[in-house]
C-alpha cells in the first residue's frame, strides 16, 4: 500500500511536469505579449526588447521551461527583484511580487472558504442523507430527497447573488462577504464568510444528501450487512458500523473531487462574492497574461487535485483493509 502511494506520488510529479509543459504552450499560444503590458505608455521597441530580455522571454521556449523547472527545485537568483527561494515560480509580471508568496497570501481565504463550506456541507449533507436512508420511504425521506434534488440543481451564480440580494442588500441580516484572517479576528472571519459558506454548502450538501442516501441504501442491501443483522446486532449498530463504512467509499471519492476543486480556487464562487482567493488570482493571471502567476496557480491547483487523489486513495486504504493489504 505504501508502495502504491509512493508510486502515486511519483506519478503525480510526472503529471505536474507535463502540465507545466501544456500551460507553457498554452501561454505562448495566447495572443498577447506580457511585455507590452509592462512596457507602459511610453514603450519603445528597445524598451520592449529590454523587458523581453529581463523576463527571459527572448530565450527559446524549452530553455525557458528548463530554467523554470530548475527554479522550482533550487530557487533562482537571476531576477532584478531579488533572489527567489525554492519553490520559485518567479515574480509576477503584473505585481512584481514573488508568485509563491502571492499564492500563500491568497491561500488562507481559499482554505477558509473550502474548510468552512466542507465542514458545513458534510455535516448537513451526510446528516440528512443518513436520516433519509434510515427512514427510507417515509415522509422525511421523500421531502429530503425532493429538496436535495432541487437544491443540488441550483448554481452558485444563481443562488449566490440571490442570497446576497435577499440576506444582505434587502434585509441586512448578514454582512457583505469579506475576508478577515482568522488570526486577526475570528468573529469577523466567521461573519464575513458565512454567506459564501451557506451558499456553497447548500448546493453541495444537497448533493451529499442524495449520495449518502443512495450509497447507504445500497450498502444496507449488502449481504454482509444482512449477516450482521442475523448475528443479532442492533439496527443502529449495523447502520453505523457496517453499512456506513462501506458507503463512505463513494462519498470520499466525490469529496476528493469537490475538495480539490474548492482548494484549487473556486473561481465562480470567489467571483460571485467578490472574494480575492486563488480563483480570482487565476482569472487575474489570465487577464494580465501573467505567465509566472498562471503557471503558479495552475501547478498549485493541479498539485492540490493530485494530492486530494492520493489522500482519497489513502482513505480507501484506511477504510477498506482489502485495499490496505494488497
Amino acid at each position: 500500500m505504501l508502495r502504491f502511494l509512493l508510486r502515486r506520488i511519483l506519478g503525480s510529479f510526472v503529471i505536474l511536469v507535463l502540465l507545466t509543459v501544456v500551460a507553457f504552450l498554452l501561454f505562448f499560444g495566447m495572443p498577447r505579449d506580457p511585455a507590452l503590458l509592462m512596457c507602459g505608455k511610453t514603450c519603445t521597441p528597445d524598451a520592449l526588447a529590454n523587458i523581453h530580455h529581463t523576463l527571459g522571454l527572448d530565450k527559446s521556449i524549452p530553455e525557458q521551461f528548463w530554467i523554470f523547472l530548475s527554479g522550482l527545485v533550487t530557487g533562482r537568483n537571476d531576477f532584478e527583484q531579488g533572489p527567489c527561494p525554492a519553490p520559485c515560480f518567479g515574480y509576477s509580471y503584473h505585481t512584481n511580487e514573488q508568485v509563491w508568496s502571492t499564492l500563500m497570501d491568497r491561500l488562507p481565504l481559499t482554505l477558509s472558504l473550502a474548510a468552512g463550506a466542507t465542514v458545513a456541507f458534510l455535516f448537513v449533507g451526510l446528516g440528512t442523507g443518513l436520516l433519509a436512508a434510515w427512514k427510507r420511504g417515509s415522509f422525511v425521506d421523500k421531502s429530503f430527497t425532493a429538496g436535495s434534488m432541487v437544491l443540488s440543481s441550483m448554481q452558485i451564480y444563481f443562488l449566490g447573488p440571490l442570497a446576497l440580494a435577499i440576506l444582505v442588500y434587502q434585509t441586512h441580516i448578514f454582512e457583505e462577504p469579506d475576508y478577515t484572517p482568522i488570526t486577526d479576528n475570528p468573529a469577523a472571519w466567521f461573519t464575513g464568510l458565512i454567506i459564501p459558506w451557506a451558499v456553497l454548502s447548500t448546493i453541495f450538501a444537497a448533493q451529499y444528501t442524495r449520495m449518502a442516501r443512495s450509497s447507504m441504501i445500497e450498502q444496507l442491501q449488502e449481504e454482509h450487512v444482512r449477516t450482521a443483522r442475523a448475528k443479532g446486532m442492533s439496527g443502529r449498530y449495523v447502520f453505523f458500523r457496517y453499512a456506513w463504512r462501506g458507503s463512505l467509499i463513494p462519498i470520499i471519492t466525490i469529496l476528493g473531487i469537490d475538495l480539490s476543486s474548492l482548494l484549487g480556487g473556486a473561481i465562480i464562487t470567489e467571483y460571485t462574492f467578490g472574494l480575492p482567493g486563488l480563483g480570482r488570482l487565476a482569472v487575474e493571471s489570465v487577464q494580465f497574461s501573467d505567465l509566472p502567476l498562471l503557471l503558479g496557480v495552475m501547478l498549485f491547483s493541479a498539485a492540490v487535485i493530485l494530492l486530494c487523489n492520493i489522500v482519497v486513495d489513502a482513505c480507501y486504504a484506511f477504510i477498506d483493509p482489502r485495499v490496505r493489504l494488497s
Binding site: 503529471i15 440543481s153 451564480y157 447573488p161 440580494a165 445500497e218 467571483y271 487535485i305
Partner: protein
C-alpha cells in the same frame, strides 16, 4: 420505488446491460417476436410517472429552444433590439426600467433587461436555444470520444489501455475551470480573422472544443470499465472462438452493450455541460453580449445594476435553469432505473 429484488449474483457496480433476471414473464411467452432489453427498458420507463413528466419538461425546453425564432416572431420582438434607445421613455438614463418588476407588462412579458433594455422573454428563449445547442454539441462530441477511446482502451488492453488511461489521469489533474478560462482566448485566436467581428460561431466552436477536451474522460473511464467487464463475458469469447475479428467484436458484441451506460451517462452529462457553459459565460469567457445565452444572463443578473434595481430579472434565467436541471436529473434517474431496476433508491 424499485423493490430490492434479491437476484442471484450481485453483479458488478458497472452497469453492464444487466439481464440477470431469469424470471420468465408468462405474459410474454405468448409473443413470438421477442422484446429486446431496450424495449423492456422503454416499457419500464413509461410506467415511471416522474420520468415521463421530466421527459416532457426536457422536451419542452428543447422545443422552446428549437422554435425560439418562431415564438419570437409570433411575439413580435427579437432579443437584439436595444429598447433603451428605441423606447427611452421606459428607462431612466442608466437603463433601468422605470416600471416596477423590471418593466413586466403585457407588451414585455418578462420585462426588460436593465442596461440596454433587451426584451427578457425573447432573450431567454434564444438563451435556452444557444445554451442547449452548445451543450448538446459538447455532449455528442464527448460521448463519441468517450466511446472510441474508452472502448478501445477497455477492449485492446495492454499498451493502448495504458496510454489512454494515463492521458485520462493527466487530463483529470487539470484544474478545468482555470484551463477553460486560460484557453478560451487561445482557441478563439486560432480562428480570428483580422477585419471581421469574432463571429459568434467561433466562440461557440471554442466553447465546445474546450469543454470537449476536458469533458470526455469520465465517460471514457466508465466505458473502459464496462468494456473490461464485457470482455470477460463469455459471449465475447464465443465470438472469438468463431473467428470474429476485433472490429466485428467491438461493433457487434460490445457497442450494443454499452448503449446503456452511454445513455445514462449522457443524460447526466448534458445538464452538467449546460451549467458549465453557463458558468463560463458567467465569467465572461463564453458567449458575450449581445448573443443571448443562459449563463450570460446570470452574469448580467449578478451585476450591481440588476441586483440593486431590478432583482426580478434574475429569476427568469434562474428558475428556468433549475426546472431544466431538476427535470433532466430526474430523467437521468428514471432512465437508469429503467435500465437497471435492481438499484433501489
Amino acid at each position: 420505488m424499485t423493490s430490492p429484488i434479491d437476484i442471484e449474483g450481485g453483479g458488478t457496480s458497472v452497469v453492464v446491460d444487466g439481464d440477470q433476471q431469469p424470471k420468465s414473464k408468462p405474459e410474454e411467452a405468448k409473443q413470438l417476436e421477442g422484446r429486446s432489453p431496450g424495449q423492456l427498458m422503454w416499457i419500464r420507463f413509461k410506467r415511471d410517472r416522474t420520468g415521463v413528466i421530466s421527459a416532457y419538461v426536457v422536451i419542452f425546453f428543447f422545443v422552446v429552444g428549437l422554435a425560439a425564432p418562431l415564438i419570437a416572431k409570433l411575439y413580435g420582438k427579437d432579443p437584439y433590439t436595444v429598447f433603451a434607445d428605441e423606447r427611452p421613455e421606459l428607462f431612466d438614463s442608466a437603463g433601468v426600467p422605470l416600471q416596477p418588476n423590471g418593466g413586466i407588462s403585457g407588451e414585455f412579458w418578462f420585462g426588460l433587461e436593465p442596461g440596454n433594455g433587451y426584451d427578457v422573454f425573447t432573450k431567454l428563449l434564444y438563451g435556452i436555444r444557444n445554451s442547449l445547442m452548445i451543450s448538446l454539441a459538447v455532449t455528442v462530441a464527448t460521448v463519441l470520444t468517450g466511446i472510441v477511446l474508452g472502448v478501445a482502451a477497455g477492449y485492446l488492453g495492454g499498451k493502448p489501455d495504458q496510454l489512454i488511461s494515463r492521458v485520462i489521469d493527466f487530463l483529470l489533474a487539470f484544474p478545468s475551470q482555470l484551463f477553460f478560462i486560460a484557453s478560451m482566448p487561445v482557441v478563439v485566436s486560432l480562428f480570428v480573422s483580422p477585419r471581421d467581428e469574432t463571429p459568434v460561431y467561433v466562440r461557440v466552436v471554442a466553447l465546445i472544443a474546450v469543454q470537449w477536451v476536458l469533458g470526455w474522460m469520465s465517460l471514457a473511464r466508465i466505458l473502459r470499465g464496462t468494456t473490461l467487464a464485457l470482455r470477460e463475458r463469455e459471449f465475447i469469447e464465443a465470438a472469438k472462438v468463431s473467428g470474429a475479428s476485433p472490429v466485428r467484436i467491438i461493433r457487434r458484441e460490445i457497442l450494443p452493450n454499452v448503449v446503456t451506460p452511454i445513455l445514462v451517462q449522457s443524460t447526466y452529462m448534458l445538464p452538467n455541460f449546460v451549467t458549465a457553459e453557463a458558468g463560463l459565460s458567467f465569467l465572461g469567457v463564453g458567449i458575450v453580449e449581445p448573443t443571448p445565452d443562459w449563463g450570460q444572463m446570470f452574469s448580467k443578473a449578478s451585476t450591481e445594476l440588476v441586483m440593486q434595481n431590478d432583482i426580478t430579472y434574475m429569476f427568469f434565467p434562474g428558475i428556468s435553469m433549475i426546472i431544466f436541471i431538476v427535470a433532466f436529473n430526474l430523467l437521468g434517474d428514471s432512465v437508469r432505473d429503467a435500465f437497471d431496476p435492481k438499484t433501489a433508491r
